[in-house]
C-alpha cells in the first residue's frame, strides 16, 4: 500500500470513531512536522508547540479533508503555516545558538564522526538562513518533495520556488564556506 493510501486508511478509521487512529497519524508524521518547525524556529520547545498546534488544526479539519488529495501536501501546508505563525511571534533572542546545535548533534551516537560533523555544520549553517530559505531547502530535501508539491504547500508558483531554492542553496554554501574558513572563493 502506498504512503498516501495508508494515511487515507487512518483517516477513514478516525472518521468511523477509532480514537487510536489519531495516535497512528501522529506517529507517522510527527518527525517531519517537528523537523520543519524546528528548522524554521531554531528552538526545540517552540518547534514542538508549533508541530502540536499543526496536528490539532489538522485533527479539527480532518472531516473536511478531500480524500482525493495527498494528505501530506495538505498537512505540511498546515505545519508550514503554524511554524511561520510561531516565527512571527518569536522573540529575536530565542534562536539557536552554536551550543544548542552542538548539544543536539552529539545526541545521535549512531552516525560516524565525519558524518556527524558534517550534519552539525549544515545544521548550524541552516540556522543562519532566513525562514524562507530554510523552508525551501527542508521541503525539497526531506521526503524529496517535487517543486509542484512545494508550490502547493507554500502557495507560491513552482517557477518562483525553483529560483528561491537555487538562491537558498547558494546562500547555504556561502554560510558553510564562511563557517569552515575555506579558501575556495566563488568563481562568479
Amino acid at each position: 500500500m502506498n504512503e498516501n493510501l495508508k494515511d487515507i486508511a487512518i483517516i477513514e478509521r478516525i472518521r468511523t470513531g477509532d480514537k487510536s487512529a489519531y495516535r497512528d497519524l501522529v506517529q507517522r508524521h510527527k518527525d517531519f512536522a517537528f523537523t520543519v518547525a524546528y528548522r524554521i524556529l531554531n528552538h526545540r520547545e517552540e518547534a514542538e508547540e508549533a508541530a502540536q498546534d499543526a496536528f490539532m488544526q489538522a485533527f479539527a479539519a480532518l472531516k473536511d479533508f478531500n480524500q482525493t488529495a495527498k494528505f501530506t501536501t495538505w498537512f505540511y501546508r498546515i505545519v508550514f503555516n503554524a511554524a511561520l505563525g510561531a516565527k512571527r511571534r518569536q522573540k529575536p533572542t530565542e534562536t539557536i545558538t552554536e551550543a544548542h546545535a552542538l548539544a543536539y548533534s552529539v545526541m545521535d551516537t549512531t552516525q560516524g564522526v565525519h558524518k556527524k560533523e558534517r550534519f552539525t555544520q549544515i545544521q548550524r549553517a541552516l540556522a543562519q538562513l532566513s525562514p524562507d530559505d530554510v523552508t525551501m531547502i527542508t521541503l525539497f530535501y526531506l521526503k524529496e518533495h517535487s517543486l509542484e508539491e512545494i508550490a502547493e504547500i507554500t502557495a507560491i508558483s513552482s517557477e518562483t520556488i525553483k529560483v528561491k531554492l537555487h538562491r537558498a542553496r547558494k546562500r547555504l554554501a556561502e554560510v558553510l564556506r564562511t563557517q569552515l574558513g575555506a579558501e575556495v572563493k566563488n568563481l562568479y
Partner: protein, 161 residues
C-alpha cells in the same frame, strides 16, 4: 565556452540539466581546477542535505498532543439536547403562533357548536401580551440559529485554510 552558472550546476545536481549543460560541465571539470573544487563543494552540500536526518521531538510529544486533543474535544462536545434545543423551542413557538392566529380564526363564532370552549379560551388570553412576548423571543431564537449556522460555516472555512 561559457562556465556553468549556479542555476545550471543545481540543475545538474537535481538531475534535470540538459545534455548541453552536462557536456559543458564535463569539459569544465577537466580544464578548470577552481570549477572542480567549487562543483565538489556544492555536490557535497547537496548530498549532505539529502541525507540530513529527520529530527525527533521529545518522548512526551505524542502523549502531550493526545492529551491536548482530548481536552479540546471534551470542551467543544455539546450534548445533542443542547444542540437541538433552540430548534425545538423555535418549532414549538411557531406552532403556537399558527395555532393561535390561524386555527383560532377558523373556529365557529356562534354561541352554539364545538368552538365555544376554544373561543372562550382565546378571549381569556391577552393576545397583545403574547405577541409582545413571543415575537421578540422568536426573533432572538432566529438570530441564534443564523449565528450558529454562520459560525459553523466560518469554522469549516477556517479549518480548510
Amino acid at each position: 565556452m561559457n562556465v556553468l552558472t549556479n542555476d545550471e550546476i543545481f540543475d545538474l545536481l537535481d538531475g534535470i540539466a540538459t545534455a548541453e549543460v552536462r557536456q559543458r560541465h564535463q569539459q569544465w571539470l577537466v580544464i578548470d581546477e577552481k570549477y572542480r573544487v567549487y562543483f565538489n563543494e556544492l555536490r557535497e552540500l547537496h548530498e549532505g542535505l539529502a541525507v540530513l536526518p529527520l529530527e525527533s521531538p521529545s518522548l512526551a510529544f505524542e502523549t502531550k498532543l493526545m492529551s491536548k486533543w482530548e481536552t479540546a474535544q471534551s470542551i467543544y462536545k455539546v450534548p445533542l439536547i443542547l444542540k437541538t434545543l433552540p430548534f425545538v423551542l423555535a418549532g414549538v413557538m411557531i406552532l403556537l403562533l399558527i395555532g393561535t392566529f390561524v386555527f383560532g380564526g377558523l373556529q365557529p363564532t356562534t354561541d352554539s357548536g364545538a368552538g365555544n370552549m376554544y373561543e372562550d379560551f382565546l378571549k381569556n388570553i391577552d393576545l397583545k401580551m403574547i405577541r409582545d412576548l413571543l415575537l421578540p423571543i422568536n426573533s432572538l431564537l432566529l438570530l441564534l440559529i443564523i449565528e450558529r449556522l454562520v459560525k459553523n460555516r466560518w469554522k469549516r472555512l477556517w479549518g480548510q485554510a
